[in-house]
Symmetry: C2
C-alpha cells in the first residue's frame, strides 16, 4: 500500500513538472518581437530578478533563525528531529514555485505581445501556456515535497504515520512563512509602484497608462510579476500543500490507518492528470469575442472538475474502503463550493452584473459615494461565500461520520479543502495567465505596437480579471476550510503532548480563555490589513516623490527626448517593500506563541477560530470591494457615465486606487495569515502546553 501511494504521487508530481517543462519550451520558441520589446522585457526581468534576489536574502536570515530555534527545541525533545529540516524544505519549495512562476512570466510577456501581433488565438496560447507552467510547477513541487518526505520518513526511518504527518505540518509552516513574505513583500511592491505610477503619471502629469515617459512604468510591470505571479505562486503552493497535509494528519487520527492518509495524496495526484487533460481544451478561433474567450477557459476548468468528480468516487471507495463511500460527498462538496464561491465572486465584481454596474452609477454623485458603494458591495458580498462554506462544512462533516466521531467529521472538512484544490493545476493556470497578459499589454503600449495588438492584449487582460476573481474564490474558500482543518490538527497535536489533553479539555465557547482568544483572533485580520495597507501607503509615497523628482529634474523627459531612470524606481520599491514585509510576518508568527503563553491552549483554539472567521470575511470583503471598484472603473472606461476623462471616471479611479491594496495586498495576505497562525500554533504546541500561564 505505502509503496503504491508514493509511486502514484511521485509519478504524478513528475508528470506535472514534465508537462510544465514541455510547455515552457514551447513558450520559449516564440519570438520576443522587436528590439525595443526585447529591451523592455529585459528591464522588467532584471527588476524582478533583483527584487527576488534581495527578498530571498532577507528570507534566508529569517529561515536561518527559525531553523536554529526549531533545532534547539528538537534537541530538548519538544519537537521531532526532522521538524527543522521539514520547515526549511517547505520554505524552499514555496520560494521555488514563486521563482519559476516569475521566470516564465517575465520570459513570456513580450512573447505574448508579439504573438498578439499575429492573432488573438496565438496570444491566448502563449499567455495560457505560461500560466500553465506556473500552475503545474506549483502542484508538481507540492506533490514532490509531500511524497519525498513520505518516502524518507516511512522507508528511510520507519516512522509511524502520526510522526510523518507531524513533520509534514512543519513543512506547511515553512511554506506558509515563505508565502506570507512573498505575498506581503510582492503585494506592497506592486501596489506602491502602481499607485505611484498612477498618481503622478496619470493624474498629475496626465500621460496615459504604461507610457514610457513615466519613470515608474517599469516598476509597475515588475510589480505585476513579483506580486501577482511570484506572490501568488508561493501563496497557492502553501494552500495546496497545507490542505493535503492537514487532511493527511486528520486522517491518521480519525482512522488510525495509512489508507485515510493516502486518500488526500492520491486525490491531489489524480487531480494533476485531470488538470493536464483540461488544458488541451483551452483554445479559441480567431476573432473570438470576450465571451468566447471566457468559454474557452471555462471549458478547460469545467472539464477538469468533472473528471476529478468522477475519479474521486472510485478513489474513496477503494482507498478508504467501501463502507466509507459517503466520504465522497465531502470531496464533492468542496469541489462544488469552490465553483459556487467563484461564481458569487464573479457576480459581485464583474461588470456584467448589477452590483458593479450600480457601483459605476454611484460615481455620478461623486467620489465619496463610489467609495461608500464599493465598501458596501464588498461587505454585502461576504454573505453568499459564508453560506456556501457553512453548507460545505456541515455536509463534509456529517457525511464523513461526524455524528459518531468528531475526528472523522473534521477529516471530511479537510477532504473538502483538498477537493476544492484538486484541480489547482488548471485553475491556477487561468489565474496566472492574467498578469502575463497585463504585462504584454504594457509592453505593447511602451513599444508603440499597432492599435489592434493593444486591443487584443486588452481583451486577454480583461478576461484575466474575471478568471482572477474565480481563482480568488478558490483561494479564499480553501483557506477557510484548510484553516479549520489545521485548527483540528492543532487540537490533535496538543492531545499527544504530556499534560496536553487536560489543558485543552474545556473548549466550550463560554470558557473565558476561548472567548478572549476568539476576540483577539478576530482582531488579527483587521490589524494585519491595517499594517499592510499602511505599508503600501508609505512605500507609495516614496515612489510618488521620486517620480515627481524625475519629472522635474530630467529635462526633456516629458517631450520624450530623455529617458527616465526606471532602475531607481524599481530599487526604491524593492527597498521599501522588503523593509515593510518584516513586521506583519513577525506579528503572524509571534502572536500565536504569545497568546498561547498567556491564555493556554484553549485560548489558542479560540484565537484560531476567531481569526479564521473574521479573516475569511475580511479577505472576501477586501478582495471583492477591490474587484468591484476595478471593474466599475473599466465599465466607465468602456463609455458609460461619460467615459474616460469624465468626472465619473476620476471618481472611479479613486475607488480603484483604494481597492488596489485591498485586493492585491491585504486581502490575499489574510488568506495566508489564517493558515500560518494554525501552523505556528501546531509547531510550538509543546512550548505552550508546558509554559502557559492561565
Amino acid at each position: 500500500m505505502e509503496i503504491l501511494i508514493v509511486a502514484v504521487t511521485l509519478a504524478c508530481s513528475v508528470l506535472a513538472l514534465l508537462f510544465a517543462v514541455i510547455l515552457a519550451c514551447r513558450v520559449m520558441k516564440f519570438s520576443e518581437g522587436t528590439d525595443l520589446m526585447k529591451r523592455i522585457s529585459l528591464s522588467i526581468r532584471r527588476g524582478a530578478n533583483a527584487f527576488l534576489k534581495r527578498q530571498y536574502k532577507i528570507v534566508l536570515i529569517f529561515f536561518g533563525v527559525m531553523f536554529a530555534l526549531l533545532g534547539v527545541m528538537a534537541i530538548f525533545g519538544l519537537l521531532n528531529p526532522f521538524t527543522p529540516f521539514a520547515f526549511i524544505s517547505g520554505g524552499f519549495f514555496s520560494a521555488l514555485s514563486g521563482f519559476i512562476g516569475m521566470k516564465i512570466a517575465t520570459a513570456s510577456n513580450a512573447r505574448t505581445a508579439n504573438a498578439c501581433r499575429e492573432g488573438l488565438n496565438k496570444g491566448l496560447r502563449v499567455a495560457f501556456s505560461a500560466g500553465s507552467v506556473m500552475g503545474f510547477t506549483v502542484v508538481g513541487l507540492g506533490l514532490l515535497d509531500i511524497s519525498l518526505w513520505f518516502l524518507i520518513l516511512k522507508f528511510g526511518f520507519g516512522l509511524q504515520p502520526s510522526e510523518i504527518t507531524g513533520a509534514m505540518l512543519t513543512f506547511g509552516m515553512g511554506a506558509s512563512s515563505m508565502a506570507l513574505f512573498a505575498r506581503v513583500g510582492g503585494g506592497i511592491f506592486t501596489k506602491a509602484a502602481d499607485v505611484g505610477a498612477d498618481l503622478v503619471g496619470k493624474v498629475e502629469a496626465g500621460i496615459p497608462e504604461d507610457d514610457p515617459r513615466n519613470p515608474a512604468v517599469i516598476a509597475d510591470n515588475v510589480g505585476d510579476n513579483v506580486g501577482d505571479v511570484a506572490g501568488m505562486g508561493a501563496d497557492l503552493y502553501e494552500s495546496y500543500v497545507g490542505s493535503v497535509v492537514s487532511a493527511c494528519a486528520l486522517g491518521v487520527t480519525a482512522f488510525a490507518n495509512i489508507r485515510a492518509m493516502a486518500l488526500p495524496m492520491l486525490l491531489a495526484a489524480v487531480g494533476v492528470i485531470c488538470s493536464i487533460l483540461g488544458t488541451f481544451l483551452v483554445r479559441t478561433k480567431e476573432g473570438a469575442t470576450q465571451k468566447q474567450l471566457l468559454r474557452a477557459l471555462s471549458r478547460g476548468t469545467n472539464f477538469s472538475a468533472i473528471l476529478i468528480a468522477l475519479a474521486a468516487f472510485p478513489l474513496v471507495y477503494f482507498v478508504l474502503g467501501k463502507e466509507y463511500w459517503p466520504v465522497y460527498f465531502a470531496v464533492l462538496a468542496g469541489l462544488i463550493a469552490g465553483v459556487l464561491i467563484g461564481q458569487a465572486t464573479e457576480y459581485f465584481t464583474s461588470d456584467s452584473y448589477k452590483p458593479t454596474r450600480n457601483l459605476a452609477a454611484t460615481s455620478e454623485t461623486g467620489t465619496a459615494t463610489i467609495v461608500i458603494g464599493g465598501l458596501s458591495v464588498g461587505m454585502l458580498s461576504t454573505l453568499l461565500p459564508v453560506i456556501i462554506v457553512s453548507v460545505c462544512v456541515l455536509v463534509a462533516y456529517f457525511v464523513s461520520g461526524g455524528a459518531t466521531s468528531v475526528s472523522r467529521g473534521l477529516y471530511g472538512i479537510a477532504l473538502a479543502a483538498v477537493g476544492m484544490l484538486s484541480t489547482l493545476g488548471i485553475t491556477l493556470a487561468t489565474d496566472a495567465y492574467g498578469p502575463v497578459a497585463d504585462n504584454a499589454g504594457g509592453i505593447a503600449e511602451m513599444a508603440g505596437l499597432e492599435k489592434e495588438v493593444r486591443e487584443r492584449t486588452d481583451a486577454l487582460d480583461s478576461l484575466g480579471n474575471t478568471t482572477a476573481a474565480t481563482g480568488k474564490g478558490f483561494a479564499i474558500g480553501s483557506a477557510a476550510l484548510t484553516a479549520l482543518a489545521l485548527m483540528a490538527s492543532y487540537i490533535d497535536k496538543v492531545k499527544t503532548i504530556d499534560g496536553g489533553a487536560e489543558s485543552i479539555s474545556n473548549l466550550s465557547i463560554t470558557n473565558p480563555t476561548v472567548l478572549v482568544g476568539l476576540f483577539i483572533g478576530a482582531c488579527l485580520p483587521f490589524v494585519f490589513a491595517a499594517l499592510t495597507m499602511n505599508s503600501v501607503g508609505r512605500a507609495a509615497q516614496s515612489v510618488v516623490k521620486e517620480v515627481r523628482r524625475q519629472f522635474k529634474e530630467i529635462t526633456g523627459l516629458m517631450e520624450g527626448k530623455a529617458e527616465a531612470d526606471y532602475a531607481s524606481c524599481v530599487d526604491l520599491c524593492t527597498k521599501a517593500s522588503l523593509r515593510e514585509m518584516i513586521l506583519p510576518t513577525v506579528v503572524a508568527i509571534a502572536v500565536p506563541v504569545i497568546v498561547g503563553i498567556i491564555l493556554g491552549c484553549t485560548g489558542v483554539v479560540g484565537m484560531l477560530a476567531g481569526a479564521t472567521a473574521s479573516g475569511f470575511l475580511m479577505a472576501v470583503f477586501m478582495s471583492n470591494s477591490g474587484g468591484a471598484w476595478d471593474n466599475a472603473k473599466k465599465y466607465i472606461e468602456s463609455g458609460t457615465h461619460g467615459g474616460k476623462g469624465s468626472d465619473c471616471h476620476k471618481s472611479a479611479v479613486v475607488g480603484d486606487t483604494v481597492g488596489d491594496p485591498f485586493k492585491d495586498t491585504a486581502g490575499p495576505s489574510i488568506n495566508i495569515l489564517i493558515k500560518l497562525l494554525s501552523m505556528v500554533s501546531i509547531v510550538f504546541a509543546a512550548i505552550v502546553v508546558n509554559f502557559s500561564i492561565l
Copy 2:
C-alpha cells in the same frame, strides 16, 4: 430585602427624572433669541416632530405584530404570560427616552445660540443642561421600568426571581428593537441630509455649511436631532437596561438568591446619585480655552466615576455578602475599561495625536491615500479596545469565582458592563450636548449672528466631538460585555426548557454547528453595515436630486431673494429613512430564529459569539475611521496642509463624507444589533429547542 431594593431603585429613578425636569425648566427659562432664530428653531422642531410621529406609526405596527406573536406563544405555554407586556413596555420607554431627548434638544438649540451671544460659559451651561436632561431621562426611565416590573411581578404576582428576570429580558428585547429602529432610521435620515446638503451645497454650488440658501439645511439640522439625539437616547436606554437586566438574570443563576439580583440594580441606582453630583462640577470661566472647556467636562465625569468606584465596594460587600467582596474588582474593571477605551478612541480620532495628524498629511498625495489611510487607522484602532475588553473579561470572570463556578464568572462579566454604564447619567450628558451645540452653530449661521457667537458655538461643538468619542468608547465596550452576558443568559434560559439542557450540551468550538454559527454570526455585522450604508446612499441620492432641482427651478434662490422649500427635503429624508429602516431590523430579528431552527441552540450560541466578536471590531473600526476622517478634515480647516479650499481639504472632505455613514449610521447600529440578536434568541429559545432541525 426586596422592599429595600425596590425602594432604593425607585427613589433613585424618581430622583433622576426630577433632576431632569428641574434642568429642563432651567433651560426653558432662557430666551430663544431673535424672531428669525425662533423661526428656524421652530422649523427644526417641526421637522423632527414630523419624523418621529411617522416613525412611531411604523414602529407601532411592528410592535403590534410582535405583541400578537408573543401573545400566541404565551398562550401555547412557550413563554410566560408577562412577556408580551414586558416587550411593549421596553419599546415604549426606549421610544420615550428618545422622544424626550429630542424635545429638549430642539428646544435648547436656539437657546444655546442665544446664550452664546452673552458668553461661552452661559452657552456651555445651556447646552450641557440640555444634554443632562437627556442623560437623566434615560437612566431615570430605565430604572423606573426595571423597578416597576420588579414591583409588579414580585409583589403583585409573587413570581420567583428567575421568572422575573425572564420577563425583564423581554423588555430588553423591546428596548433593543426600538433602539435599532431609532438608530437606523435616524442614522439614515441624518446622513442622507448631511451628504445631500454637503454634496450639492458645499461642493457643487460652493456655498458655506449651514447657509440658509441650501434647501437641505433644515433637514440637516433635523437629522442631528432625530439621529444623534433621539437615536442615541433610545440606543443608550437599551444598553443601560440590557446590562442591568442581564446581570440580574445571571446573578439569579449564579447565586440562586435575590441579593445577586439586587446588586446590579443598586449599583445603577447609586450611579445616578454619583452622576448628579458630578454635574455640579461642570462649569467654566469666561474666555475659557478649548482645553479648559474639556477639563470642565472631564472634571464632572471623573468625579462621578471616582464616587461610584468608592461606593461600589460597600455595596458589593454588604449586598452580595462579605465572602464575595472580590466581585468588587469586576465592577471596577468595567469602570476602568470604559475610561481606557474612551482614551484609546480619543488617541486614534483626535487631532491632538499622531494618527489623525498623519492621516491629514496623507491628503497631500490625494483622495485615494486619505481614504486608504482612514480605513487603516480604523482597523488598527481595534487592537487596543480588544485587549482592554479581553483583560476586563478575564479579570471580571476570575475575581467573581469563575474558576470554580462558570455562572459566577459570567455574572462578573455582566457586572463589569453595569460598572461601565453606572455613570451613564453624566457620560450621556457630555455626549448628548454635542448635537445641541452643533445645532446652535447652525442656527447662529442661518440667523446671521455675530462672528464671535459662531466662534463660541464652534468651540462647544468641537469639544462635543471629543466627548462623543469617549461616549462611543463606553457604548461599544458595554455593548460587547453586555452581549457576552446575554449570551450566557441565553444558555441559562435554554437549560430551563424541557430538552434544552441536552440540546446545548456540546458547546465545544469544534462542534460544526457552533463553528458554522460562528461564521454566520461574524458575517452579520458586515451585511448589516452594507445594508445601512446602501440605505444612506440611496436616501442621499434622492436628496441630492431634490436639492439640485430646487437650485434650478426656484428663481432667485442663489441670490437670497427667494426661500428654499425646506419642508420638501425634510419630507424626502423622512420617507426614505423610514422605508430603509425596515429591512435591517427585520433581518436582525429573523436571523436568530432561522439560524436556531436550522442549526439548533448550539448554532445560536456560535452565532452570538461570532456576531459579538466581529460586531465589536466592526463598530470600533467604523466609528474610529469616521472620527479620524472628521477630525483630519477639521485639522486641515484649522490651517494645516493648505487649509480650507485647498486640494488637501477637498480630499479630506471626501474622507469625511465616507466616514459619515460609518460613524453615525452603521457603527452605532451594530452595537444594538449584537445585543438584539441575543435578546431575540432568548425570547424565542423555546421555539428553537422544540423545532430545530440539526
